[in-house]
């Protein structure tokens, strides 16, 4: 049995996603018709569907054995902020158990996992005590064509890839990796990966000089034993903080699943087990420590000496970190501009998948209801589309409107006659007045655009350069131009409840919630 943990952060995160994150938690922002994190859940769900169907007619290997049974959202949003989403997600994916684990505090990517380690490793009630073999950890703001299959294959079949080297090292973590350009790589976690074994030999988070083209995608497959490594790190930090600091760490949390503790964490000393809230990062703390770990025990590898200063007690929990390098589409949802980019790709992915489905209709995979929502092309309702378009079934689009390419229209939205929308996301209950044009923009919930308006952003200048191989989005593009202090061209964003009067033009502007605009704006943030 597998589980998946999606790290969704909390309200103090995602500030770069404003003003869209002002009324909706960023993880719930809809991209291609699904909340961002639902794409993660969807990927986990499809993995199960696919694997079970394969295993029926193909008894080969361990492939069919691995299925995600539970998805845990981990973050520090208020429970009520996620309640509605959890409910609908649970209905959409009946075969998955979906829960929210609320961190008492921002504990860092690994700190939160460690805090809830018992819950993560607990068998499901209905699974007859089946153990968790591994669990995915996915950053909530990653948007990608998740190669979960390939990660699983690498994680569990590692021995077959490994040549006649030495004794087999257990795999603690498999990291989804991608290639970037030399210049862009330094904005990410860079990994030096052994081409034959896929073992990560060196890891640096956002180096100041070039280290490697291969970067961490923020999606991991972890073995339960990874918690031992985190426990070691935890203990080290505790020790290095000095003895007098005991009261500082008074937030020791008692594990909520007491009865599971012994079973799961037998080999641990008792005092480690009770240690709780402490900020630990998957990237800087865990991966950096594991990288090159195997090197110290494997003489044939060259780069073992790299992080020798760090590797002290760590070596005792011996195990390796692998990198599953993919060429699948991958990006991060840091800024609002990235949402348009992600929207485009998720729409394309879905289109591709549907085509695949139609071709292999024999298999007829059961799809959760939101994914079944039509991808409009020749629509019965009569409006025209270009390219990939998603329209929520409850949205109304006038027959004379023209949508696409790459448009998502949310629940209850109203698109009036003669409207043109392209490269945009229209959120729930938004209204676009007749003959208006919306391009490269995000129209917030309940926002209202009058007649003959023009709402236009710049084709996100942070989009990857299509002429450069492996180029990614530019994550560090500043909001303002350093020379003249003006807003850099961006997509146009209307916050929720914004009202744009008729015949107004909005260019590259960001409008905060509930503003009424009576005149035109260009390159402005409207508070």
């Amino acid at each position: 049995m597998l589980k998946a943990v999606i790290l969704i952060g909390g309200p103090s995160k995602g500030t770069r996603f404003r003003p869209l994150s002002l009324d909706v938690p960023k993880p719930l922002f809809p991209v291609a018709g699904l909340p961002v994190v639902q794409h993660h859940i969807d990927a986990c769900y499809r993995l199960g569907q696919k694997r079970s169907s394969i295993s029926e007619d193909n008894s080969n290997s361990n492939v069919g054995k691995y299925c995600v049974a539970e998805v845990l959202l981990l973050g520090y949003y208020g429970d009520d902020e996620l309640a509605e989403f959890l409910l609908t997600a649970t209905q959409s994916y009946p075969s998955l158990r979906i829960r929210y684990l609320r961190e008492p505090d921002a504990l860092g990517t690994a700190g939160g996992l460690y805090h809830f380690r018992d819950t993560i490793l607990a068998p499901l009630d209905n699974s007859e005590g089946e153990q968790v073999q591994a669990f995915f950890v996915m950053n909530g703001d990653v948007c990608a064509d998740f190669p979960l299959d390939e990660m699983l294959d690498m994680h569990f079949n590692n021995n077959s890839h490994q040549s006649q080297h030495q004794q087999k090292q257990p795999v603690l973590i498999t990291v989804m990796a991608t290639e970037t350009t030399r210049q862009q790589s330094v904005h990410y976690g860079c990994m030096v990966v052994d081409k034959e074994t896929n073992i990560i030999q060196h890891y640096v988070e956002k180096p100041s000089t070039f280290v490697s083209n291969t970067v961490n995608c923020g999606v991991y497959l972890c073995s339960p034993r990874l918690f031992d490594t985190i426990a070691d790190i935890h203990l080290e930090i505790l020790n290095s903080n000095g003895n007098g600091n005991q009261q500082n760490i008074s937030r020791y949390t008692t594990s909520n699943n007491k009865n599971n503790i012994n079973q799961q964490q037998q080999q641990k000393p008792v005092e480690e087990r009770v240690a709780g809230a402490m900020v630990i990062w998957m990237e800087q703390d865990v991966l950096r420590r594991l990288a090159g770990e195997s090197g110290s025990s494997c003489s044939s590898m060259s780069s073992g000496g790299d992080g020798s200063g760090r590797i002290k007690k760590g070596s005792k929990c011996g195990g390796v970190a692998l990198a599953a390098t993919t060429r699948n589409w991958w990006s991060q949802l840091k800024t609002a501009g990235a949402a348009i980019y992600a929207n485009r790709h998720y729409l394309a992915l879905r289109q591709q998948r549907q085509r695949l489905l139609q071709r292999e209709s024999v298999i007829d995979l059961p799809l959760p209801s939101p994914v079944k929502c039509r991808l409009a092309t020749a629509d019965p309702k009569g409006y025209s589309t270009i390219g990939n378009v998603y329209v929520h079934p409850s949205a109304q689009v006038h027959p004379t409107a023209l949508l696409g390419p790459n448009v998502s229209v949310g629940e209850g939205a109203f698109i009036d006659q003669g409207v043109r929308i392209k490269e945009s996301i229209v959120l729930q209950d938004a209204v676009i007045g007749q003959h208006s044009l919306v391009m490269h923009s995000i129209i917030g919930r309940r926002a209202k655009v009058g007649a003959w308006c023009r709402v236009e952003g710049s084709a996100a200048c942070s989009d990857p350069n299509p002429n450069v191989a492996y180029a990614k989005m530019t994550p560090q593009l500043p909001l303002f131009n350093a020379l003249d202090g003006r807003l850099n061209p961006s997509i146009t964003i209307l916050g929720c409840g914004v009202n744009v009067e008729s015949e107004v033009v909005l260019l590259n502007s960001i409008v905060l919630p509930y503003k009424t605009l009576t005149r035109s704006y260009k390159n402005e943030i409207i508070l």
Partner: protein
């Protein structure tokens, strides 16, 4: 009546057409300025028609450029109106007074019959009849039409006695406010004025009128109603608004009315307008123009043969002859398309001046000349 007509038949007019009309480019790259249609009629025809109504039978056009094209295009109209057009061709630009000297043989007469002089860019309710009466009443050499403007600093200000109308002095482009009455570019002059002008480049405003004023021979006639120099795009549109407002009172039936029409709109009968459009206020649509469904036009002039496609929004634009504006286009801020320009779908043009025969495929967010 008959008596008046014969007497007036002697009265001639000279229109200062002048040169290249650079201020009204890109339109004047395709057509000489006097032929550019203002409210669906060549600019100069507004003046000629008004002159004809007061009995002028001979109009002298002082031109230095493209006389042939004008002659060709105006001859039919002239025949219709029963007026003779005489082209006085300057081989070099002669300013505003030189052309009078050049046409001296046409203007001078033994009966001492006065003649009109007009700048070709002026649009107003030409008060020729009252002007003649006033001129005759004071009996001096010349009368200048003056008009009140809001910003006199751009023009030649005329200082005159409000009671008698006698002009005291001229102040060209005053830095400080002295008066809001300016030279409107319409005069009636006795042939004796021709003796004051040499055949060389001369400015009538600076080198003739001030001396006439000194001699007490020049009077001001105060213009009623609107006045505009429509020699550049911005003023062309402002002048159109004024003209349509005036047309509304003078001849309301010539204005167009239909569903979705707001305010004063002039539409040629050969134009077609689609469903769900919002046209006006202050729009002129020329012959054979097509406006497709759902377009919104305000304060625009659409010249002959142009097409404005669906869902497009235009404000303060002049669309050149046979130009095509795509769907969901937004153009504003005195955008001028020359002849046969194509604007692709979904573009935004803000204050663009587009030269003839261009095809525009990217937005122009800031005022710019597109060569």
């Amino acid at each position: 009546m008959c008596g008046v007509d014969t007497k007036m038949a002697e009265t001639k007019a000279l229109i200062l057409v002048g040169g290249y009309g650079t201020r009204l480019r890109p339109l004047t790259l395709s057509r000489p300025k006097p032929l550019v249609e203002f409210a669906n009629k060549p600019m100069i025809l507004h003046q000629i028609e008004a002159l004809v109504t007061v009995g002028v039978r001979e109009v002298i056009l002082a031109v230095s450029y493209r006389a042939e094209q004008m002659e060709k295009e105006m001859s039919d109209e002239a025949k219709k109106l029963g007026v003779r057009l005489v082209f006085s061709h300057e081989s070099e630009p002669l300013g505003t007074a030189g052309p009078l000297a050049l046409a001296k043989h046409l203007l001078s007469n033994t009966q001492n019959q006065p003649f009109f002089v007009l700048n070709s860019d002026i649009i107003c309710e030409y008060p020729f009849k009252d002007l003649i009466a006033f001129h005759k009443s004071h009996g001096c050499e010349g009368t200048i039409v003056v008009t009140k403007v809001e910003e006199p600093s751009k023009y030649g200000v005329v200082m005159y006695d409000e009671d008698t109308g006698r002009i005291e002095s001229f102040i060209e482009k005053p830095q400080e406010f002295v008066s809001n009455k300016i030279n409107a570019g319409i005069y009636i002059l006795n042939p004796s004025v021709l003796d004051r002008i040499k055949l060389e480049p001369t400015s009538i405003e600076k080198e003739v009128f001030p001396f006439m004023a000194q001699d007490g021979q020049l009077y001001a006639f105060n213009l009623k109603g609107f006045w505009m120099d429509v020699g550049q795009p911005k003023d062309f549109l402002t002048g159109m608004c004024m003209y349509l407002t005036s047309l509304k009172t003078r001849s309301p039936t010539s204005l167009y009315s239909a569903d979705g029409v707001v305010g004063n709109v002039l539409v040629d009968p050969t134009a077609t307008i689609g469903e769900g459009c919002k046209i006006g206020p202050n729009v002129t649509i020329g012959p054979n123009v097509t406006v497709e469904d759902g377009a919104c036009l305000r304060r625009c002039t659409i010249l002959a043969g142009a097409t404005v496609k669906s869902h497009t929004w235009l404000d303060s634009c002049i669309i050149g002859w046979r130009s095509v504006v795509g769907c969901w286009v937004r153009m504003e801020n005195t955008t001028v398309l020359g002849e046969d320009v194509i604007v692709k779908d979904e573009l935004y043009i803000n204050g663009g001046q587009v030269l003839p025969h261009k095809s525009i495929s990217t937005s122009v967010p800031d005022p710019q000349i597109i060569m």
